[in-house]
């Protein structure tokens, strides 16, 4: 049991710091964003599982040779009023910490969901009175605003893509349909769920800078995945031109706002030692379209996916396999 706890702790530390830092610097992620996305998810899940698991196993160590047996005895102490003499201060401390961390993660996930849902509902309500359905494009709303803006608002059957007047004027029909395809890909691939969980992760553990790194990586990968869907129908040059027109157009719109309270909107909260978020992701998004790299080979993709599976399987097996390291 003690060895299991140490192994889980080592895994938790690896997944909390060196592994995400290395992955955020890796260059191959833009070649196979899907595999990279799977890997990020198993790092987050495996990391959380081993972090909680390490403390749980350490705390239950005196009660049994394996976790199921120890949990049964722990229940006996809690429910059946049996003696807890075997548990010393540090064991109880670890058990409380495991319970608190687990609850904290679940609670933050729920809280973030509630907050996001409220904001989306509010946004949708305003949108209903401020926008008009686009005549030409299905499930698309047009809002009267000079800056080129395109985004999607997820909400099950009520999901919509929102485009601004400024965008529709600035883009050719081909570029416009690339943008719409891109936004629809976000909706059909349920990217908002990924963004939500990694945002919750970041808010739950703000003191762990890698949660911010992983959220950035995931939001950048989500854009690449949506770009790849748009590329199926639009040539790369068209998509790049659309990205450039929207990015430069909205940069100008911001510059033009000057002294208004929203003028400082382009300022980013940066922390030392971390790469600038948007800059890196927008640049890598464009450069992979300008000079396309071949995707990872079949074997390499399989290796990444198998690695992701292992990251989840190892802590699970360590936790559940009875008497494995007793």
């Amino acid at each position: 049991m003690l060895l299991t706890a140490y192994l889980l702790a080592v895994l938790a530390i690896l997944l909390a710091w060196p592994v995400p830092v290395a992955l955020s610097r890796a260059r191959w992620t833009s070649r196979s964003p899907f595999a990279a996305m799977v890997l990020w998810q198993s790092i987050a899940l495996g990391g959380g599982l081993s972090m909680i698991g390490a403390m749980l196993v350490y705390g239950l160590e005196p009660l049994g040779d394996n976790l199921p047996q120890a949990v049964r005895r722990a229940l006996g102490i809690v429910v059946g009023n049996r003696s807890s003499d075997q548990l010393h201060f540090w064991h109880l401390f670890a058990l409380c910490a495991a319970a608190l961390l687990g609850l904290h993660l679940v609670f933050t996930l729920g809280l973030t969901y509630a907050r996001i849902t409220t904001q989306r509902r509010r946004h949708r309500e305003l949108l209903e009175v401020l926008s008009l359905p686009s005549g030409a494009i299905e499930r698309t709303l047009v809002i009267n605003h000079p800056a080129p803006v395109a985004y999607c608002l997820p909400g099950g059957s009520r999901s919509v893509t929102v485009l601004s007047d400024g965008l529709m004027e600035a883009l050719t029909p081909g570029e416009l349909s690339a943008v719409v395809d891109h936004e629809r890909a976000h909706l059909t691939q349920r990217h908002h769920l990924l963004l939500w969980s990694f945002e919750a992760w970041r808010q739950a553990l703000p003191w762990l800078p890698t949660t911010r790194l992983s959220r950035q990586a995931v939001s950048s990968l989500v854009e690449m995945l949506a770009d790849d869907v748009a590329r199926r129908t639009a040539p790369d040059e068209v998509l790049v031109r659309a990205i450039a027109l929207v990015a430069l157009g909205s940069a100008e719109a911001h510059a033009g706002q000057g002294g208004s309270p929203s003028g400082n909107g382009t300022e980013r909260r940066t922390e030392p030692g971390m790469p600038e978020e948007g800059e890196a992701s927008l640049a890598s998004r464009v450069s992979r379209l300008l000079t396309p790299q071949p995707p990872l080979s079949h074997a390499q993709t399989t290796a990444v996916l198998a690695g992701s599976g292992l990251l989840l399987a190892v802590p699970t097996v360590l936790l559940l396999a009875p008497g494995l390291f007793s």
Partner: protein, 123 residues
């Protein structure tokens, strides 16, 4: 009948077009006039307008002057202010809104624009 969503939009358009507060009756008449051409707005009942107004009030778009009878309604802020707020959320410039919306391009700083221009010049 037009859908509630469409009605909400038309009522807000009417409220935004004047600075004075209006009663539900006045709004109904103005809606009938503006959509008179072939639209069914003529059959619009005042109760429907009141329903729409109370929905808009709940959404925080409309306020009611309570002193008078019948109640008079006015828009809480201008169309431009509401649009600006939406665009803020959409561009992710408001704090901590990043996770809410996936947008084609988020807010772009001058440095990013420069990087982009450099990349495009090279490509």
């Amino acid at each position: 009948m037009a859908s509630l969503g469409e009605l909400e939009r038309s009522v807000m358009d009417q409220l935004w077009s004047t600075t004075d507060a209006s009663t539900a009756n006045e709004l109904r008449d103005r809606l009938a006039q503006s959509e008179g051409q072939g639209h069914e707005a003529k059959d619009l009942a005042v109760t429907t307008v009141l329903t729409v107004l109370s929905r808009l009030e709940k959404k925080g778009l409309v306020e009611r002057e309570r002193g008078t009878r019948p109640h008079r309604y006015r828009a809480i802020s201008t169309r431009e202010d509401h649009t600006a707020r939406l665009m803020h959320e959409a561009l992710g410039t408001a704090t901590d809104r990043e996770a809410v919306l996936a947008r084609f391009i988020g807010s772009v700083s001058e440095a990013e624009a420069a990087t982009l221009r450099r990349l495009l010049a090279r490509g």
